[in-house]
């Protein structure tokens, strides 16, 4: 029984959760084949999958390593740009870099490679930024990373870098989610994958993060979160491990950024503002700081509400002849932010607290026994 110490708890919950996730993927695939591709459902699923990855990557920092960073948007920007720059088809570059004679980069790489580039680029910048910044304490760190995100944004917008970044102008024409669909010669779609693939990408990434969290390094991160001094006294090198967590988190933020680019089909530096970081932070909080499952749930919830379920609040609604008051452009966001405030104030632990998917089944099974 030795080796079962600490995971004496039966393995069934884990297996169950795997089953559930797998089932979900299958459902998504089937739905995509049969429901009209114009349905809002798929928008939500695509964007949700993207945000889920970014939220989890942020949670790895804020929730599991206790580093309160607000640089996420900056790293997403790097990822998005790297992806776009390396994947725009050659014959389109002239059109995209219209003011810069087709730009400096005159080759393009396959999508998976570009995704990895995106991650690496973000991770690399994170490493450089981390060197000075990670020595700072909680909210100083937060504001410094926020500052760096803004600086990155400005650099990418600088006209002198136009040949690479297309200045402040939009990057587009790069492969997006719809290009994952398999088409026949006539150009009709035979197999829809435009939602399934994003799920796979972000699924794999999140799985990697989860593995990391459950590895020895993950434990070291948690140790740092719980008590830096004790962690150091147990031989954990703070600088090295923080640097590691920061770079890894940024790597996945970068991949997330690339996915966001694919979702939006265009990239522009000016949209990666601190507001975006706040949005992601709120997602993490709503889901529960320190719960991967929570982050994933709340990403989909957040996107679904803002893109879909609460949309009707923005338009005039008639019940018979009675016009529902207050409903007009912007009301959705008001309701939305009120909900968020309620969560932040009264449900501070978020949807999941620090629980994960298996824990849900675990409780159930326990009850079952009783």
């Amino acid at each position: 029984m030795k080796q079962f110490v600490s995971d004496r708890k039966s393995r069934t919950p884990a297996i169950l959760s795997f089953a559930v996730i797998a089932l979900f993927y299958v459902l998504v695939f089937i739905a995509e084949q049969h429901l009209p591709s114009t349905s809002m459902l798929f928008t939500v699923l695509k964007k949700g999958a993207t945000y889920a990855l970014v939220a989890v990557s942020m949670n790895l920092l804020n929730g599991f390593t206790g580093i309160f960073s607000l640089g996420q948007a900056g790293f997403m920007l790097i990822g998005a740009y790297t992806y776009a720059i390396f994947t725009i088809p050659l014959d389109q570059r002239a059109a995209v870099y219209q003011y810069f004679q087709g730009g400096a980069v005159q080759f393009s790489v396959p999508v998976p490679v570009a995704l990895i580039f995106a991650g690496l680029a973000a991770a690399f910048f994170a490493f450089l930024i981390g060197l000075p910044v990670l020595r700072l304490k909680s909210d100083y760190l937060a504001i410094a990373t926020l500052g760096f995100a803004e600086i990155i944004r400005a650099i990418f917008q600088w006209n002198q870098l136009g040949p690479i970044t297309n200045g402040s102008n939009m990057l587009r024409m790069f492969p997006n989610f719809n290009d994952f669909n398999i088409r026949n010669d006539a150009g009709e779609v035979t197999v829809y994958l435009s939602t399934t693939i994003p799920f796979v990408i972000s699924g794999v990434c999140i799985a990697l993060i989860v593995l990391l969290i459950h590895s020895g390094y993950g434990r070291a991160f948690k140790a740092i979160r719980d008590d830096e001094i004790a962690a150091e006294a147990m031989g954990i090198n703070l600088a090295h491990h923080k640097q590691l967590a920061f770079s890894i988190s940024s790597f996945f933020a970068g991949v997330g950024g690339a996915m966001l680019a694919m979702y939006q089909t265009t990239v522009q530096a000016k949209s990666f503002t601190s507001a975006m970081t706040y949005e992601i932070l709120l997602i993490v909080v709503i889901g529960g700081v320190g719960s991967v499952t929570g982050s994933v749930f709340s990403s989909f919830l957040f996107v679904a509400c803002s893109e879909w379920w609460l949309r009707f609040l923005d338009e005039k609604q008639m019940i018979g002849t009675f016009e529902v008051p207050l409903l007009r452009n912007g009301f959705r966001l008001v309701v939305f932010s009120v909900i968020i405030m309620i969560v932040v104030l009264f449900f501070r632990r978020g949807i999941m607290g620090t629980k994960e998917l298996p824990d849900l089944f675990r409780r159930k099974t326990k009850e079952g026994i009783k």
Binding site: V5, L212, A230, G235
Partner: protein, 280 residues
């Protein structure tokens, strides 16, 4: 190689105008249990923090197994405000190892105000402390390719918990344990780093006499079981007199006496310091 495992030479730690530790010199031999005692605020924990690399000493040097782990002399502003003894001895290149480095060399510690990893189970607290001895890099362990290593570490952890009689609570949250057990867990966690020198900062604080009894037995037991040298700070005189081979006494940062328990027990200076200490 020489037989003292830790040697502190002319250690002085000064915060601003306050001299917390003043010209402290002492040594610990292999296999010894050495106690550092003194009234509250005498600078005992500060000395610990210097040894473990939390503080950079103002002056003096510390050798572990003959290797410098700290060496410095007053610099900058300190040079003017320095109030300790001779600062001349250690001028020149200073050495400062970070706490984690010191731990890697084989010095482990517990904390006076318990510092367990609150978000983790008892088992994970100990398992985490094994992290520094791992061979596999983060890619390997992320992909869980180091199964053998992980398994070994879990088994060792299991052994440790058995040794400190915490096996039954292995899956409890660390902070949910009673005070006494938390202290034991801290010791187990320290042992998990495979130290040769163990620093215990008031391990018996908040324990009842009976628990204290067990503790002294326990300390001896782990000393033999893990071939440790032990450096202990403690107020419980019975415990100190019972287990320690030699005792150092400091008051207001200065060393006022040292020797075997019997000598210390009837050393007037010590008694004075303590009575004085109590009175204030």
């Amino acid at each position: 190689m020489e037989n003292n495992i830790l040697r502190i030479e002319h250690l002085t730690m000064q915060f601003g105008g306050v001299v917390a530790v003043n010209d402290l010199s002492m040594e610990i031999n292999r296999g010894e249990i050495v106690a550092l005692i003194g009234p509250n605020g005498a600078g005992k924990t500060t000395a610990f923090n210097c040894v473990t690399g939390v503080y950079e000493p103002t002056n003096g040097q510390i050798l572990f197994c003959g290797r410098q782990i700290a060496r410095s002399s007053p610099t900058g502003k300190m040079r003017k405000m320095y109030a300790g003894n001779d600062a001349s001895a250690f001028v020149g290149d200073s050495v400062r190892l970070s706490p984690d480095h010191v731990t890697k060399l084989g010095i482990a510690r517990t904390f006076q105000n318990i510092r367990l990893f609150s978000g983790m189970t008892v088992f994970d607290n100990v398992l985490t402390a094994k992290h520094l001895r791992r061979k596999s890099n983060f890619l390997v362990s992320t992909l869980h390719l180091n199964y053998a290593e992980e398994k070994r570490m879990r088994e060792e952890t299991w052994e440790l918990l058995k040794a400190v009689h915490l096996l039954d609570v292995a899956d409890e949250m660390a902070t949910s344990l009673p005070y006494g057990k938390q202290r034991l867990l801290e010791i187990a966690r320290a042992l998990a780093t495979k130290p040769t020198l163990l620093l215990l900062d008031e391990p018996a604080a908040g324990m009842n006499p009976q628990e204290t009894e067990e503790l002294s037995a326990f300390i001896r037991q782990i000393k033999d079981e893990f071939q440790l040298s032990i450096f202990i700070i403690e107020h419980h005189m019975n415990l100190v007199m019972d287990i320690s081979d030699r005792i150092y006494v400091i008051d207001f940062g200065r060393l006022i006496a040292s020797g075997v328990p019997a000598e210390i027990q009837n050393n007037p200076a010590v008694i004075e310091a303590y009575l004085g200490g109590e009175d204030q």
